[in-house]
Amino acid sequence: MENLIALLVAAPLLGAAVLLCGGRRLDRAGHWIGTLLAAASFVVGVVLFLDMLGKGAEDRALHQKLFSWIPVEGFQADVAFQLDQLSMTFVLLITGVGTLIHIYSIGYMEHDERRRRFFGYLNLFLAAMLILVIADNYLLLYVGWEGVGLASYLLIGFWQHKPSAATAAKKAFLVNRVGDMGLSIAIMLMFTTFGTFAFGPVLEATGETGEGKLTAIGLMLLLAACGKSAQVPLQSWLGDAMEGPTPVSALIHAATMVTAGVYLIVRSGAIFNAAPDAQLVVVVVGAVTLLFGAIVGCAKDDIKKALAGSTMSQIGYMILAAGLGPIGYVFAIMHLVTHGFFKAGLFLGAGSVMHGMNDEVDMRKFGGLRKYMPVTFITFGLGYLAIIGFPGLSGFFSKDKIIEAAFAKGGTEGWILGSVALLGAAITAFYMTRVMLLTFFGEKRWQPDAEGHEPHPHESPKSMTIPMIVLAFGSVFAGGFFSIGDRFLNWLEPVTGHSHGHAPVSATTVTAATMVVLVIGVAIAWAMYGRKPVPVVAPRGSLLTRAARRDLLQDDFNHVVLVRGGEHLTRSLVYVDHTLVDGVVNGTAASMGGLSGRLRKLQNGYARSYAVSMFGGTAVLIAATLLMRAV
């Protein structure tokens, strides 16, 4: 069975190689090759999963060492895979959702002449993401980490002819570099501290290591997670990443890649458990991002950007849960999986809407679409209900558990975090209801575009609706399936560990409170967007609304602090370079030049002159010899 692990990665990697190197002759079959190989990877994953289910909880983890990567004395890096329950969860999510989105893309990208290349990139992403989650050491994880960064860059900038897409890709790549820097520093720290990168030895050795070092490693890992998962302060790229094709937004920027940070933190749980300060920072980052993303999501009129804000917010929930320690790890992953289903479904729904609306993204120009695209409406609606936590659907179970866990953290912290999580749930209900109302209800508000083409909303082809239906099933049933009988908890506990904490309030109270805030959020949204007609041109709005439309000034902040600051820094450095460094260098050169200009007069070319020097030198040598003898 171990040998199958490499096959997981090999299939999409082969697909990427074939599609990207194959050239035009594969244009007609490219999407089928890509989809089949993604599906093959999924099948392998399912086979491995069934095999794993047949074993006892303790010996489920599989290991496979492919080859020694960097075999140096004292520095052993292997290309080795580890497939335990946590990795298995991710493998199934990635390959499963990935395959669905491949299928969806066949329809969505039908008219794009570079479809083959798109599928190549998608396969490359799958391979990199799988390496990331099944690597058995941090160095190989880093390879996957960079690989998904590359794939993300390529896919965001897929429509590179649009300057906005090219810029967004660049922005995503650059912001991600900051996080990647954190990961590489963390890996270096690990090597100096533990002398190895492998998960097993590193995580076992945390008990004997000083807290300071662990805190440093933890903070660097958190920085990495912030970059990849779009958490404050490295969140600014995710909104712009929506310039990519919608399947990409669904797969990479909603369901899988952005959750890599959560995976990293949960995987490194032992480090964070031993470094409470780092854990506290994780929780704070999660809580802040949770509110930040939610507020941004409320103000956006671009359907994809609203969903992006929502993604940010939901990952904030996961990071928050992961920061709670053993109380929250399992729920972080559970929310991650359910979120993968409903958010991918929502994005695919949004893509379907755009597909029918001539790629219009402004929700104020939708309205009343439920009649025109019923399948999209139903699947999107189920995703909507799941994300706001409608009782019985996926989001209800997973989010509720996180809110409970936040309260269970105990003390003032627990109360604050719990309240933040509750508030986030209310805002989530508000903005998702807003999206739903603006898009599918009310009057139709679309108008002919500049060339007079009125959009003709229509249902998308089967290849697009089927994945949406499948994902909607996941959105509805996954949470219940996982929670009933604590299936997911039992599944993951051997890897992540679990503790119940001591909740100050009972689970029922929390659920009730969640229900209440949910109703409040939906009600406010209904009051604002459902009862009265929505203006096509957005009103000016309050100060907070305007700030939220500008992503809560995150770009302005980055511009003022980082760009301007960087400019000032470089300018002063240039000044120092020009005056001080160049001064020293040029001064040295000038003084040398002057000195040699004087010295070269000694070189007059007359042999007799040189002879005098020799003779004088001899005289000095004799004098020195005599002097030494005399002394």
Binding site: Y606, F615, T618, A619, L626
Partner: protein, 275 residues
């Protein structure tokens, strides 16, 4: 040269007298080598110094070297110098006027300092043990035999190498002074044939033979007073640089007659009429 077998830390009075007399001669010779204006004089002074040194070698028991000094150095090398002086001739370099600024002062300073240091060094050195060459010279039956036994045993490699050096120097000198021929040399037959083939069998007449001027660019005048082109060399003829003086003497004669006429108060008019 006397009593060398019993040489001690002191030499005989005879040698002392010889040293002081000839030593002065040697120093004067050396100084004149440096200071004489003409290279020939320098060479001769140096030869004198070398002969004195040969005598000193003999006095120090180096009989072989003394003879070699006279034969090789004074006889061969210095004559070579004289040959080169003859070849090169007198040039501006013979002037004793210094052209490099400060060179003479620097040289004097360095020389003085160097000499003082050297002499002080010799003075300081403990050179009191004085063995003499008696035993060394008699060991192999004489100075020459002694040297020979050393040269051909202990110093045989150095000797061979100096032999190679001499050969190399000879070849080097030949290479340096050799001039490559650009065409085949003419043999005697070709030269004589070439000569007969020309228009003029006897030697060309010398320029200005019958002229008042004796310069190469003035053609000689034939008995009838016309200039002969043959007497001027080909190059000048081609350049057209021949100075025709056939009428000059007539003009001068005329001017002389006029001057004497004026002086004697003779009337010029009849001459003008006659003209």
């Amino acid at each position: 040269m006397t009593g060398l077998a019993a040489a001690a830390s002191q030499t005989s009075t005879g040698e002392a007298v010889q040293f002081w007399l000839l030593g002065i001669v040697a120093v004067i010779g050396a100084l004149s080598t440096v200071l004489m204006k003409k290279a020939v004089h320098s060479a001769l002074s140096l030869a004198g110094t070398m002969i004195v040194l040969a005598v000193f070698y003999l006095a120090n028991g180096a009989y072989f070297l003394g003879i070699v000094q006279i034969v090789v150095y004074t006889g061969a090398i210095m004559m070579l110098f004289l040959f080169v002086v003859m070849l090169v001739g007198v040039t501006a370099a013979d002037s004793l006027k210094e052209t490099l600024k400060g060179q003479r002062w620097l040289a004097a300073g360095c020389g003085l300092g160097f000499g003082v240091l050297l002499i002080a060094g010799i003075g300081n050195a403990s050179l009191n043990s004085f063995n003499g060459l008696g035993t060394a010279n008699t060991e192999h039956g004489g100075n020459v035999e002694g040297l020979a036994s050393l040269i051909f045993t202990k110093y045989v490699f150095a000797f061979e190498i100096t032999g190679a050096l001499l050969i190399t120097a000879t070849v080097g000198a030949m290479v340096l002074t050799h001039r490559e021929r650009t065409e085949r040399a003419k043999n005697q037959r070709e030269m004589s044939e070439e000569r007969v083939r020309g228009k003029q069998l006897p030697p060309l007449p010398a320029p200005g033979v019958y002229a008042r001027h004796n310069a190469v660019d003035i053609p000689g005048l034939l008995p009838d007073g016309t200039p002969s082109e043959l007497t001027v060399m080909q190059t000048l003829r081609n350049r057209g640089q021949i100075r025709d003086v056939s009428n000059e003497s007539l003009d001068q004669l005329k001017a002389l007659e006029q001057r004497s006429g004026e002086r004697l108060g003779r009337d010029n008019e009849e001459e003008e009429v006659a003209k």
